[in-house]
């Protein structure tokens, strides 16, 4: 038996920090249960693991055996998964401690963590604002210093957008880099588990552990786990593309200033910078809001009150059971997206919406290939058009809410890896810059992020 004192100390400290962060409503696991579970895990943790004793919080749409998995939804209230996600199993095998489940928009549908059945998560720097979403709980906990890293999930930017708004690092890997087994599906062809960390390294080492092949997920590539690059001395030899579509005329001037500063910095590091065109960018959000709801409408059909989860009356017949369970169990945004997705797949509309969106997706992916084919290694863009917005501000305007994903959805549509790192602040609120990399070249993307992170004044006004 080896000495677990290191892991135990880490577990207790994490529990204390999580208690302190309680006011954010970022963690859905009750504190007492969490403390107990952390200690139990620490006692079982493998000292030889590369993440030995590291507390990692997990978004509540990723299945764990230790805690409930509610997806921020009433329809899965108190739901316990009888199996765990591959990513979680890999974390545990590496000695990490699962530090509770984090709040999120219901079924990851949202950009503010306001659409949670368990209350909204507060921005750690300004409680009147949102932390972004849907992985807002994970971002807030990392930003508050409660955990060094947390798992989130991405369908259209749900890791990078809250990372940007909370001033932490967020990585979305290449589609197929991390197994989706145990990640509750929203838009299967877009979903990936991602990592939020207080530094590029914290996020990257967690990503390396959860990456790699998994026979349980047919969409996971048959590849070895990601190997972490060294922190480069310079960016000599890197060609960084600046897509002009991501810097529209009406972009928040402070966001633009922050990005300009970052660009100056990596020029100083030796990188070549080149403007590129991604002409179909404007169609990314509409394309996304056809494909993601379409897949979601089918993925969420299983929540019918028949086999698991609570029932909301409806005893008359099975249809009544379905309709009341789904009508009451799902929140407004989820219902809206299910209806939207059902609509675009229904007979007579499939061609104009779904098929067309699939074709648009191909054009968007081709834009990226064209840029990379012309010698660009990475693209650099703002992560979000603005810093954290006020709670309630976009709740009744779904299209405005959808547009907060405008710079992030493209990577999901094209299946590419991307990372958001803090590049400055606007009136005290963090903003992030984004690298979009080539498929399965996360190592190059991480090198650039490591280099920029070292020099960028992340907490200074832009």
């Amino acid at each position: 038996m080896s000495d677990q004192s290191e892991a135990l100390a880490s577990a207790k400290a994490a529990a204390d920090r999580l208690v302190k962060a309680k006011r954010l409503n970022a963690c859905l696991t009750p504190v007492r249960e969490l403390r107990k579970a952390l200690v139990t895990q620490a006692q079982a943790a493998h000292p030889s693991g590369v993440l030995y004793g590291m507390p990692v919080a997990v978004k509540d749409n990723i299945c764990t055996l230790e805690f409930t998995t509610t997806c921020g939804s009433k329809i899965l209230e108190a739901y316990r998964s009888p199996y765990e996600a591959t990513a979680v199993a890999k974390l545990k095998a590496a000695g990490a401690l699962i530090a509770g489940k984090t709040n999120c928009d219901e079924f990851a549908m949202g950009s503010s963590t306001e659409h949670s059945a368990y209350g909204r998560t507060l921005h750690p720097f300004d409680k009147t604002r949102v932390p972004g979403g849907s992985s807002g709980g994970s971002a807030a906990l990392v930003a508050a210093g409660a955990v060094p890293a947390a798992l989130g999930s991405e369908t259209g930017g749900s890791v990078r957008q809250p990372a940007s708004l909370c001033g932490v690092v967020g990585i979305k890997p290449t589609y197929g880099r991390v197994s989706r087994w145990g990640l509750v599906a929203f838009g299967s062809s877009l979903d990936q588990i991602g990592v939020l960390g207080r530094s590029v390294h914290d996020a990257a080492r967690v990503l390396a552990v959860i990456s790699g092949r998994d026979p349980k997920d047919s969409t996971c590539e048959d590849r070895d786990p990601l190997r972490l690059p060294n922190v480069p001395e310079s960016l000599q030899g890197f060609v960084i593309g600046i897509p002009k579509e991501y810097f529209p005329a009406d972009l928040d001037p402070a966001v633009r200033r922050g990005c300009d500063r970052a660009v100056r910095l990596f020029k100083e590091l030796g990188a070549a910078v080149r403007e590129v065109a991604l002409p179909h960018t404007a169609y990314a959000v509409p394309t996304y809001y056809i494909l993601a709801p379409a897949e979601a409408s089918s993925n969420l059909a299983r929540y019918d009150g028949a086999r698991y989860g609570p029932r909301f009356d409806g005893t008359a017949d099975v249809r009544a059971l379905y309709r009341t369970t789904r009508g009451e169990g799902f929140g407004a945004e989820v219902r809206r997206r299910i209806l939207l997705g059902t609509y675009v797949l229904s007979s007579g509309y499939y061609d104009a919406y779904y098929r067309k969106a699939q074709q648009m997706r191909a054009l968007i992916a081709q834009d990226f290939r064209n840029a990379f084919d012309r010698g660009v290694d990475l693209l650099f863009t703002p992560t979000t058009p603005s810093p954290a917005f006020k709670a309630g501000e976009k709740l009744n305007d779904p299209v405005a809410m959808y547009l907060s994903d405008i710079f992030t959805v493209t990577a999901n549509l094209a299946g590419l890896p991307a990372i958001s790192i803090p590049i400055g602040r606007i009136k005290g609120l963090p903003i992030g810059g984004q690298f979009i990399g080539q498929a399965f070249l996360e190592d190059e993307m991480l090198e650039a992020a490591y280099a920029l992170e070292r020099v960028v004044p992340a907490t200074e006004e832009a």
Binding site: I62, C63, T69, C71, L76, Y79, S81, P82, Y83, A85, R180, W181, G182, L183, V184, A185, G187, S188, S189, P215, K216, D217, S218, T219, A294, E295, S297, S298, L300, A301, R302, Y303, D304, A306, R307, Y308, V318, R319, Y322, T342, L345, S346, S347, Y350, Y354
Partner: protein, 482 residues
């Protein structure tokens, strides 16, 4: 009934057959696909449709599906797509069935079968695709509640869709029996309707003879045994004709066949017309099958029944009827050929008679396969041919070997059935018989030569069947001529 089959009306039937593939595990998870387990014991996150679970396709299921497609002469497409068919039903845990829609595994095949009305006929196979089965809903187990068993859920199926090619319920049945035979041969399925591994839905319409346009069709579901195929289709055909003759109209709808009442009833109210919202399953990359893979599956196919039948007629000089009996089941056909080719070889026609009578009767009576090894039967036939055993004695030996095993010669010896071919011994029996029947000897000698059979019978009786009948006859003739 006769009135409805008048030349005035033509029946048009198309069949959709769901066949369970012969695998040990399910289509998209490692759960057992075995029939008859206690409810909800062969289940896992995948087939329960738990949040976060993903499908993991079964390679053998795909191989068997391809073999079935090739056996039916279909074109197997190098690239096909698994799609989701979305609908709500309590025994469909995910709220969708993984099936194929726009780009199926295979299309455009055909199956030739013997129509009772038209002789050899060709059924077109429009498509053959793979899909997963749903669970089972039990409606009468608990009051006010439907009980759901998900053991079947995710069991691998192929769906085989024919054109509107059948002109009578009898033809539809003949096609199905032939289909079953081919799929069994291909090793794709055991086609056991009682265990639900073969299920049939039928599209039925009628039109006046000479009419070019098809009538409005109905879909008849829930036909769950071969015996019901003809009944269900006849009931529906007659219902439609009666309706039209009374000036009514056939409504396009789905009907359930009820074997208890031998009637059909509508499955659901019209307003619930379905919109399945098919789309490619984003959990499953495209099904890409290389030329090599397809060729491998083709090579694994055995000779199919029609081909085998022709070969038996030609090679073994059998009648078409005998060849059909021998090739109906692949095991029997293989057994027959093994008998013919075992050791020094048996006469093909004699062997055919043995297999069609003794062997099949024994298999039917005992239900545990072909109990006498092919080599043993060949030896047994050899003993008869060589004069060691009479045909009657050989039948006894066959039964004994079937029940207790053993080498036919040893068994025959133990039973004391070996024919005596020693001229001295046989001559002794002949002398005794002739001595005991002087009157008959006199009649024979005065020209009543057909009494030879009588003497022979007496010799066999006296020798308790052991005398070699050919030798006994020769000695008798010699002695009577003297």
């Amino acid at each position: 009934m006769a009135g409805t089959a008048t030349p005035e009306w033509e029946t048009v039937i198309g069949l959709e057959t769901h066949v369970q593939l012969r695998t040990v595990s399910k289509m998209f998870c490692g759960c057992s696909a075995a029939f008859g387990a206690p409810p909800n014991t062969n289940v896992c996150p995948v087939c329960l449709g738990l949040p976060g679970a993903l499908p993991m396709p079964n390679g053998l299921a795909l191989q068997l599906a391809v073999r079935a497609a090739l056996a039916l002469g279909c074109t197997v497409h190098p690239r096909s797509v698994l799609a989701r068919k979305n609908y709500f039903y309590p025994d469909l845990p995910k709220g969708y069935q993984i099936s194929q829609f726009e780009q199926p595994l295979s299309t455009e095949g055909s199956l030739s079968y013997l129509s009772p009305d038209r002789g050899i006929a060709l059924a077109t196979i429009q498509r053959l695709h793979v899909e997963e089965d749903a669970g089972k809903s039990l409606h009468d187990r608990f009051p006010k509640q439907t009980a759901i068993d998900l053991n079947r859920c995710g069991v691998p199926l192929i769906e085989i869709v024919t054109g509107p090619d059948f002109r009578s319920p009898q033809e539809a049945r003949a096609y199905l029996l032939t289909l079953k035979q081919v799929l069994e041969y291909a090793g794709a399925s055991d086609c056991d309707m009682e265990k639900g591994s073969l299920r049939v839905d039928a599209n039925v319409s009628v039109r006046r003879v000479g009419e070019a346009v098809l009538g409005t069709k109905t879909e008849v579901k829930n036909i769950n045994s071969f015996a019901y195929v003809e009944k269900a289709l006849t009931v529906e055909r007659d219902r439609q004709i009666a309706l039209l003759e009374a000036g009514g109209k056939v409504e396009q709808q789905t009907l359930l066949y009820d074997a208890k009442t031998n009637g059909v009833r509508p499955q659901r109210a019209k307003e619930e017309s379905h919109d399945y919202r098919y789309f490619p399953d984003p959990d499953l990359p495209p099904l890409v099958l290389g030329e090599e893979f397809i060729a491998e599956q083709q090579a694994l196919l055995p000779e199919l029944p029609a081909k085998k039948r022709e070969r038996f007629v030609e090679k073994y000089q059998l009648s078409v009827t005998d060849a059909a009996v021998l090739t109906a089941d692949r095991t029997v056909a293989d057994y027959y050929e093994a008998v013919v080719h075992a050791g020094s070889g048996a006469d093909a026609k004699v062997a055919a008679n043995w297999v069609m009578t003794e062997v099949l009767a024994d298999a039917k009576a005992h239900g545990d396969g072909l109990r006498v090894p092919a080599g043993a039967l060949a030896n047994l036939i050899g003993l008869v041919r060589g004069g060691t055993l009479s045909h009657q004695a050989a039948k006894r030996v066959f039964g004994e070997v079937a029940d207790h095993g053993g080498e036919p010669r040893n068994v025959a010896e133990a039973l004391g059935l070996i024919q005596v071919g020693d001229t001295g011994v046989v001559t002794g029996w002949v002398s005794d018989v002739l001595g005991a029947h002087p009157a008959e000897v006199a009649r024979y000698k005065s020209g009543e030569t057909k009494l030879l059979q009588f003497f022979l019978g007496q010799v066999m009786k006296l020798s308790r069947g052991k005398a070699d009948p050919k030798l006994a006859q020769r000695v008798l003739e010699e002695r009577l001529a003297a």
